[in-house]
Symmetry: none
């Protein structure tokens, strides 16, 4: 089942809103074995809508349209659809009665715009919209299904979930498709590609591998299609295992799992708690850790040791360490870890200090120089990064590296609690 | 100048990533008087790329392409472009040397994939990419400019800002157009619209007002076009003044200025320093403040007081306060402010404690309840927020509100240093 998505709205073309509907729809469709072949965003223009519709119907089994409906949109979309299908508009009393009832409940009265909104193309089958006043519309035309929905995300999602997906599944029995994403941290895209080159080039035709890099992490996505679901699952399992055995130390999770979630699970499974002492990242590591629901189970808190005073007075970093080695040094981050564990009684602490830039760089410590330390009472590991000149990138990248060091330290130094029982 | 945007990447079509590049590019282009007529997302497919290119060139003066570049993308995009323009691939030694140098600095070696990446279509003019290894490419074909950029947002943004926009402005002299963005915080979009309704409806035809809401802030963008630059400047000045006089307390800055930058300037101009004590935001306020270059001039640091222990032991919050009122209470954030100012010797401290969710809510304090306090030795102001159920939104929105409270407190309680002289 090939699907084309069309999102209608001038607000997308001027960049006022980001089109998040398409990604959500694509996810849903993909998970159900459909293939999105193209996403197009166009303005609220009669001719544009008709032309795009014409081209889409020629290329796809299903065309999903969002946006261009609602009381202030002048019904251009509905008119363009009705004319394209050579049909007329027809008043739909049930839709209007529903709006009247809702407005009565709110103690308000409907306007002429609401009445106008209830004229629908005659050939449309209406899809109930519990979340708003404009229903979805289902059209059949030349073996293609065309569905028009409002652009408000929660309205679209309701109609998709209860009106569209179940009916599409009946209408187009779908071919199996399966994805598995292996999430890595610690190496760049090209280095990983090199390490698994032979595995990648030996992949059978029906399995594809995609590299999806972010700042500091790379996702490897395996996609299998064209066989039964069982066969695909076996294939995906086989090849993902090959990859995982080649680069085990880089893998922190699968599918939608984030690095900070993986770190949290590792800490929780080992009964450990964590504290932070952040200089150059200013709280970003703490923010990442606490963006995970339930992080209070393993995160104590910590210090934003931005000024040297905080490092000295709160964490007990020695004045002469700062003088001799500087705030951005292995010695300083080691003392920050020791101080944090001592003051907060944490099992593990992470400390970070660096030159985020754009100012503050020197010849020995250029912008992008960052020291990280992770440790407990017995052992402290350190790492020096030489990143780049962009402040925001330096903060983000070094936060990711710090999380990875916590992950590695916890895995290497501690057994699972369950294993100890 | 009509622009078509094409984003390439299977990851968009399966909904794995949301295409945020298009909206950003559309905003930039719009601000420079260009009109985006269509945004298309397609897969990493040779024929798709060529067909879409062909159709786009027929409809637009400029075609902007992002994605499909990078060492593991198999160069489908570059090959499709070269073939479309009937040209060959050529090795670009300077690009390769740059990658080698960067890798040397990281203490790493390049791979064959990096070398392959430096083959470019012969007719491409390269656009420097300071943020990554794949340069942008500028093509001229049948009076249309075609630009190909990597899909990594910060790489694309760098190339757009320094390579594309300035050159497009030269190539397509644009109709006089002028923008001014008034940045507000503290009220929602519809409430602001209500307060300036009469000003908006009295705007002359050649001036448009757009409301651009984000989480907690709203930008009001005035756009004037069709007259001489001088006339436009006078008009923009006139109407922005009207708006600013109506809602002065909501305005924190103009154009590209961020709230955290405005806060920094206000603190700096008053010779004040700031410290933080964050519970529910976990470091996000500190991160925002320190994302501004030079923030060490006014930011000391602070505490991530995630656990109650940190609140009690580091900040001196009293046990009975936590017992009687709870960690999410006005009393607790007041004590956190007092403790922070005392312990760190800061002029102003901000403290925040809330139920970020999704768990932890009660009937009296549902998820989304957040208390914020800002104060110095003499005075402390507090605010209670009732936000929503989404953890990430609660953290972001309450951080913005906290920054705004710092801004208001500093402005109301302190005179400019220069005024004291």
């Amino acid at each position: 089942m090939k699907v084309q998505i069309i999102t209608i709205g001038d607000e997308i073309l001027i960049g006022q809103i980001i089109d998040t509907n398409s990604a959500w729809m694509a996810q849903q469709l993909n998970a159900n074995g459909a293939q999105v072949v193209r996403i197009e965003s166009i303005g609220d223009e009669y001719e544009e809508i008709q032309q795009t519709l014409d081209r889409s119907i020629a290329n796809a089994d299903v065309v999903l349209i969002t946006g261009g409906l609602g009381p202030t949109k002048d019904d251009i979309t509905k008119k363009a659809l009705a004319d394209y299908f050579n049909t007329e508009m027809e008043f739909h009393p049930e839709s209007f009665e529903r709006i009247v009832k809702i407005f009565e409940r709110w103690g308000r009265t409907t306007t002429e715009a609401h009445r106008q909104q209830c004229y629908m193309p005659k050939n449309a089958e209406l899809l109930f919209n519990k979340m708003g006043s404009a229903p979805g519309m289902w059209f059949e035309h030349k073996n293609t299904v065309i569905i028009s929905m409002p652009g408000v995300p929660y309205e679209m999602k309701y109609i998709m979930k209860y009106g569209v997906i179940p009916r599409l599944k009946e209408r187009f029995p779908m071919q199996g498709i399966l994805h598995r994403t292996i999430r890595t941290v610690g190496e760049g895209e090209s280095r990983i590609a090199e390490r698994i080159e032979d595995i990648e080039s030996a992949l059978p035709q029906h399995i594809k591998l995609a590299f999806l890099p972010s700042l500091g992490t790379v996702r490897l996505r395996l996609t299998a299609k064209g066989k039964t679901e069982e066969e695909l699952a076996a294939d995906i399992q086989h090849y993902s295992q090959q990859i995982e055995e080649r680069i085990p130390e880089l893998i922190y999770g699968h599918d939608s799992q984030k690095l900070e979630e993986a770190v949290g699970q590792i800490l929780k499974a080992r009964g450990l708690n964590l504290a932070t002492a952040e200089s150059c990242t200013g709280g970003h590591i703490g923010h990442k850790i606490t963006s995970v629901p339930g992080s209070s189970a393993y995160f104590i808190g910590g210090f934003v040791a931005y000024s040297n005073n905080v490092k000295v007075q709160q964490l007990g970093v020695q004045e002469h360490t700062l003088k001799q080695y500087g705030a951005v040094s292995e010695q300083t981050v080691i003392e920050m870890v020791k101080g944090t564990n001592k003051v907060l009684g944490s099992d593990i602490a992470v400390a970070i200090s660096g030159v985020a830039g754009p100012g503050g760089g020197t010849k020995e410590k250029p912008v992008g120089t960052v020291w990280i330390a992770v440790g407990n009472q017995k052992k402290i590991v350190t790492k020096k990064l030489s990143i780049g000149k962009d402040r925001i990138k330096n903060i983000e990248y070094s936060s990711v590296q710090a999380l990875n060091m916590i992950r590695q330290f916890a895995v290497e130094q501690y057994n699972l609690v369950t294993e100890n029982i």
